[in-house]
Each structure stands twice: as C-alpha cells, then as structure tokens.
Amino acid sequence: MMLSCKETSRLLSQGQDRELAFGERVALRVHLAICNGCRNVSAQFQFLRAAVIKLSDDGSKENSA
C-alpha cells in the first residue's frame, strides 16, 4: 500500500497517540524514505511535543525562582 502525504501526516500524528500496527509502520517507513516533506513534518510533530514540555517546565521554573 502506498500512502499519500495526507494519510502519512495522519499516521505520523497517530503514532504519537497510539501504537501503530506493523503494516502501518512499514507503510510509513516506505513513504518517509521517498518523501522529504513528510520527513520534515515528522520531525516537526516530534518537536511540538518537546516544545510543549519545555513551555510547561519553564512556567514552573519561573515561579519557583
């Protein structure tokens, strides 16, 4: 199965919220190997998670200081 970028973006997001099935992981990997745009989006979704954590941490630090 070849994923479109739209489906890939959806699966990349779901990969942060649930365990993807084996077939889904394979299809993702195949698509990411050939698609720059989706690779960038993948990195961006991961970055968003780190950024929200950072935002929360900073908030608590500022107040205890």
């Binding site: 479109s4 970028c5 739209k6 489906e7 973006s9 959806r10 997001s13 779901q14 942060q16 919220d17 649930r18 698609c35 720059n36 745009g37 989706c38 960038n40 989006v41 990195a43 961006q44 979704f45 970055f47 968003l48 998670r49 780190a50 950024a51 929200v52 954590i53 950072k54 935002l55 929360s56 900073d58 908030g59 608590s60 500022e62 107040n63």
Partner: protein, 153 residues
C-alpha cells in the same frame, strides 16, 4: 477513569503559581470542569460534529492525490528556538489560537500526559475523533509556528 482525571486536575493545583500557560490551563481544565467539557462536546452543532469526523480543514494543503501542494520545509535550528523566550511566547500564542476544544484535548494529551483512550472516554467521543482533533491541533500549530517563527528570516 474518573480517578485519572481527578488526579490530573489536583496535580494541576499543586503546580500552584505557574506562569501564563498555567493560568490558561487553569481556565480550560480546572474552572470548566470535565462535565462542562463533556456537555460542550455533546451539544456542539451537528455541522461541527460532522467536520469533527475528518480533517478536511487541511485539504487545501494537498493536491487531488493527497500529495503536498507545497512540500513542508525543514525548520531551522528548532533546538535553539527552544532556548528562546520569544519562541515560547510564539508557541503559547499559537496554542491560544487553536479552537478551544482542540486546544483542550491537545493539552490534556501533551501537557497533562493523559492517554488518548482516557481523554476520549472522559469526553465521550470516539478514539477516532480524538485522533482527528490531535492531528488537527498539530497541523494548526505547525502552520502557525511556520508563519510566526520558522518562516521568518
């Protein structure tokens, strides 16, 4: 489940005195308690319910075969941005711009770290709908940060 949420909510109050984000979260998570959230989710207009089922709001980004109209660029030095106060302010502004329900689900997931299954169950929506909302939040934040931070040179 009730317990998990109550725990999350009381954990919130023990973080007493967090800055802006915390104030905002207090607004969305504590004052408008879960029942309110649930009611809003259930009572929302049928039209919204329908659009809640897919992520059609981002169709414009893709061509007819579902490929990017314009392939997303890599963000430059995202790690460095994390160290900048202005970046965090931009992120916070983007979070505020999300539709309220979407923001709430996203923050329950990313800030409180609740499992998707817990969030959906508590809000009385299907897992699929939850994933759609989370995807929508991430797509919207991506676009917002690109416009207000990474795209700026």
């Amino acid at each position: 489940m009730q317990d998990a949420l109550l725990a999350a909510l009381s954990a919130e109050s023990s973080f007493a005195g967090r800055s802006n984000l915390r104030t905002w979260l207090t607004g969305i998570l504590k004052h408008k308690i879960v029942d309110t959230i649930r009611r809003q989710v259930r009572d929302r207009p049928a039209a919204e319910q329908e659009s809640g089922g897919d992520d059609g709001d981002f169709d414009a980004l893709f061509d007819q075969r579902g490929h990017w109209e314009e392939a997303p660029d890599a963000w430059q030095q995202p790690e460095g941005s994390l160290q900048q106060k202005q970046f965090l302010a931009a992120l916070e502004a983007c979070l505020r711009d999300l539709p309220e329900r979407t923001a709430r689900v996203f923050m329950m997931r990313e800030h409180l770290g609740l499992e998707t299954s817990e969030i959906c169950k508590e809000l009385g929506v299907t897992a699929t709908h939850c994933w759609v909302m989370l995807h929508r939040a991430r797509m919207a934040l991506r676009l917002c940060l690109e416009e207000n931070w990474f795209g700026k040179t």
